[in-house]
């Protein structure tokens, strides 16, 4: 058990180091640097040289990498070119906002997906399953920017229940952001739940045909108890890693959904940073996304490891 835990942690650490290296050198390979991009074509050689000296861009790449990586270890993400403020400060608030959005999505989306998945799987090909699975497949195929726009059309333009676009700033109190995140979260849930419930449904169908469910029937276990004690636990365990993957995959969706709804989170910041050609900021956000991806999957792995007795034993 301890060895398996160490192995997962070690792998996660190695992955994060690889991300740091790749993010740095990918931007390094691009033509131009932060100064030439920022100052534009009209910049004189002396202005460029001064800027490069100020940012330390005149140093050799390996040296700069070492300095940058060292700063990251101390939590210093560098200085934004356009905004001329520490990146950690800009990113910090946005990260909070995105976590609120992701939290609302997960808190509603995951239980919803599990419940619907079990319901669909218990009556495969029945009318309930047809409805649930039909909507899920629709949700999976429609891209976020279309489902998001449809949400705005339905809930704010036609029904007028919620504001279509978020107008509050990124430093707004958490409660306001919670309210503002309802429609974006609904869009994300639409897709997230669809993926998870399809997987849970398949898993329930498989478990229902297993020897131990037949044995439970022959043991006289009533249907309700059989579902709660024998079917659901064995369905949820494999679902955990899928939930982890889907949550991490959600990052891509966040970028688009935040842009559609003008939600002041990390995703929109990423789009803005690219548009502004603010290379240090892009670098920092890419790094953060990478870390979140790794940590989410690590969390799911560790949860599965603690909950699933078979996984615990496999590596013994």
């Amino acid at each position: 058990m301890a060895a398996a835990l160490l192995e997962r942690l070690g792998l996660a650490l190695v992955t994060m180091i690889i991300i740091v290296v790749v993010v740095f050198f990918a931007l390094e390979l691009m033509p131009g640097d932060a100064c030439s991009v920022n100052l534009g074509r009209g910049a004189s050689d002396s202005m460029l040289a001064a800027c490069q000296k100020r940012l330390g861009l005149d140093q050799p790449p390996l040296w700069r990498f070492a300095a940058w990586a060292g700063d990251i270890l101390t939590g210093d993400l560098g200085i934004s070119m356009q905004r001329e403020r520490p990146i950690a400060e800009i990113v910090g608030w946005r990260l909070r906002n995105t976590l609120i959005l992701a939290g609302v999505t997960a808190a509603i989306g995951i239980p919803l997906a599990l419940g619907l998945g079990v319901l669909a799987g218990l009556n495969p090909d029945g009318p309930l399953d047809m409805t649930i699975s039909g909507i899920a497949i629709f949700a999976m195929t429609v891209p976020e920017f279309i489902s998001g726009t449809l949400m705005i059309l339905l809930f704010s333009v036609i029904l007028g229940w919620a504001a279509g676009v978020v107008t509050i700033g990124y430093k707004a109190p958490a409660l306001d952001l919670l309210k503002a995140s309802i429609l974006p979260a609904a869009t994300l849930i639409f897709i997230l739940a669809a993926h998870i419930l399809r997987m849970v449904r398949a898993s329930v169908i498989e478990v229902m045909q297993s020897d131990f469910v037949q044995m439970a029937r022959l043991k006289g276990v009533p249907r309700r108890r059989m579902i709660l004690h024998h079917v659901v636990p064995n369905t949820l365990l494999p679902a955990i890693s899928i939930i982890g993957l889907t949550m991490a995959w959600l990052l891509g969706g966040v970028v688009i959904v935040e842009s559609v709804f003008n939600f002041p989170g990390l995703g929109r910041l990423a789009v803005d940073a690219v548009a502004d050609q603010d290379l240090p900021l892009v670098q920092a956000i890419a790094l953060l996304f990478g870390f979140i991806y790794v940590l989410t999957n690590l969390g799911a792995d560790l949860l599965a490891l603690t909950l699933n007795p078979r996984l615990r034993a496999r590596r013994r």
Binding site: F212, A216, L218, K219, G220, V221, P233, R310
Partner: protein, 599 residues
């Protein structure tokens, strides 16, 4: 025999689906303390019969006629909810494979406790005491520790005991056993059967046990019913039926069982059971019956009393009992040496990112020699290393130490550790046949393609002659030329194993490695495969190493037997001498665990 009212009464039960019957008109009763065995090969309908006794039907099946009554109340056509209090209570099932029949994510104790919650009025504390009682009753060591384990943390024998404890939790009056010891080692099987016999005598429950293994039934049951293609063909006291079977199928079945006490090969039953969709209009066994008459093809026989308490379904009830004879052993003259193994040790490295240390060897210090044309039997329980020895000889497992030498044309050739480093002539010389032909034959290749590969690779057979050569090979394994264009899925299990054997012989080998090749087959088919291997080995002067967990099977085919225990050969001797005069205590234990049927 008790004369009290029967606990379980089955009358003319018919189970089937659209256009086919799985169980046809079966009647039986079980009273208090009685034990009935149902014997039959795969597809005989015995498992479907067993499930329907608990009111359960597999998807696509339903009860078409007849009745099942437990203590007078009907079991058929009831909902799960209506049967919930009876199932696991008055009537309980011990499943075939407890490892998959127990919930993998709940502790053993919790699963037994659940049966008590459902079928007893005990409080929480009394229940946990009862769980430990039950685990102790099935003789599991340290019940408190076992109760906290998950199913995958126990050995095969232990899980099976836990499943028995779970079945006993509801204090059943009738216990149904579905192949209760299949897949277990012989010594574990023997201990479990002792336990079941003991439970039966003490608890006075009625037992119905379904098995393909007549030895298991002989140990456990007083009465027996023999099923063929969904119908009961013979019913009576077990000792009478097995010693003097009257129905031609029972006679053939009994003769197809390898016996430790008799030299020579068991007799196969020719042909294969009918498809459930196209049952013969007359007697279902008629197409394979040695005593068939014209009437057998048109009239369907009913079970009739032919002796006291002894019924058979045959139109010729006056058949003289055929002596259950075996094919005499053929003498073997030891040829020149072919294979020599010196001090072989094999271990598997442990896989993992941070752990790459070698494990304790699976095979340790094994040495033996094999003569040309000799059949050596390797017996041992699971984990004894018998398959690993075969893998090392075939070049699939790398030895830690030791030398494997192949003799050809008077010269000794040390074999490279990995098959990839061996020349074609050595690869041709050693051919492997696997346990499960479903997995070893490529499902997307026709039989012709399967045979063509070794013919072209090793024999340089030109394309134009492939078909003729392959037809010859199929003839050797007694399959018709029509099989050439079939896919493996279109063949029966026995036919597939014959194709695998033909493929091995296509290479023109000097040595056959047979890894539990009859384990997945019915006894009557096993007898045919044993005869085939034996005949072909003799005819082509091919040596064979025949690996099996079943000493009686090995005894029937091998010239010499090596007994493996914990990776070491504990005894090696002439087959007849080893079985008659075992020396090592482990060999004695194996021999005493073999379930012989009464003669």
């Amino acid at each position: 025999m008790t004369t009290s009212a029967p606990l379980l009464e089955v009358e003319n039960l018919q189970v089937g689906g659209e256009g086919f019957l799985v169980v046809g008109k079966v009647s039986l009763t079980i009273g208090q303390g009685e034990s009935l065995g149902i014997a039959g090969e795969s597809g005989s309908g015995k498992s479907t019969l067993l499930l329907s006794l608990m009111g359960m039907m597999r998807p696509g099946l339903q009860a078409i006629g007849g009745s099942v009554r437990l203590n007078g109340s009907p079991m058929l056509g009831q909902s799960d909810a209506a049967l919930a209090s009876v199932r696991g209570g008055k009537i309980a099932l011990i499943p075939q494979n407890a490892a998959t029949a127990l919930n993998p994510s709940r502790r053993i104790g919790a699963q037994i406790d659940e049966a008590l919650v459902l079928h007893s009025a005990l409080g929480k504390r009394e229940r946990s005491g009862r769980v430990l009682d039950l685990l102790g009753r099935v003789r599991l060591p340290e019940p408190a520790m076992i109760a906290r384990r998950y199913p995958h943390e126990l050995s095969g024998g232990q899980v099976q005991r836990a499943a028995i404890a779970m079945a006993l939790a509801g204090q059943p009056e009738v216990l149904l056993l579905d192949e209760p010891t299949t897949g277990l080692d012989v010594t574990t099987q023997s201990a479990l059967l002792d336990l079941l016999v003991d439970l039966r005598q003490r608890a006075k429950v009625g037992i119905l046990c379904v098995s393909h293994d007549l030895g298991v039934l002989a140990r456990l049951c007083d009465r027996i019913g023999v099923m063929y293609a969904g119908a009961m063909v013979e019913q009576g006291p077990l000792s009478v039926v097995l010693a003097r079977p009257l129905h031609p199928y029972t006679q053939a079945l009994v003769a197809s069982i390898p016996r430790l006490g008799a030299a020579g090969l068991p007799l196969p039953i020719e042909g294969s059971p009918p498809s459930l969709f196209h049952l013969p209009s007359g007697c279902r066994f008629a197409p394979r019956c040695a005593f068939v008459q014209e009437a057998c093809h048109t009239q369907r026989p009913e079970l009739v009393l032919v002796a006291q308490d002894h019924k058979i379904a045959c139109l010729r009830p006056n058949i003289a009992p055929a002596p259950a004879s075996q094919r005499p052993a053929t003498e073997f003259a030891k040829g020149a040496p072919l294979l020599s193994i010196q001090e072989l040790s094999v271990g598997y490295p442990k896989q993992g990112l941070f752990a790459r240390r070698a494990q304790k060897p699976v095979v340790e210090d094994v040495s033996f020699t094999l003569g040309r044309g000799e059949v050596l039997g390797l017996v041992g329980e699971s984990g004894s290393g018998k398959s690993t020895i075969l893998r090392a000889i075939a070049g699939l497992a790398t030895p830690n130490t030791g030398q494997i030498t192949l003799m050809s044309k008077g010269l000794a050739h040390p074999l490279a550790a990995s098959a990839a480093d061996r020349p074609l002539s050595q690869l041709r010389a050693i051919q492997l046949i696997f346990q499960n032909p479903d997995a070893s034959l490529n499902p997307r290749h026709r039989v012709l393609d399967l045979l063509a590969q070794p013919l072209m690779l090793y024999g340089q057979v030109p394309r134009s002659e492939l078909r003729a050569k392959a037809t010859d090979l199929l003839g050797e394994v007694r399959l018709g030329a029509a099989t050439l264009d079939r896919m493996p899925a279109q063949l029966s299990g026995g036919e597939r194993q014959r194709v695998a054997i033909a493929r091995a012989f296509a290479a023109g080998p000097d040595l056959l490695l047979c890894d539990e090749i009859t384990t997945a087959l019915d006894v009557s088919v096993q007898a045919a495969v044993l005869a085939l291997i034996r005949d072909l080995a003799r005819k082509h002067d091919v040596a064979a190493i025949f690996v099996s967990h079943d000493l009686a099977v090995v005894r029937s085919i091998a010239d010499r037997i090596a007994v493996l225990h914990n990776g070491r050969i504990v005894e090696i001797n002439d087959a007849q001498a080893l079985c008659a005069r075992p020396v090592h205590p482990y060999t004695k234990k194996l021999i005493s665990s073999v379930l012989d049927i009464p003669a």
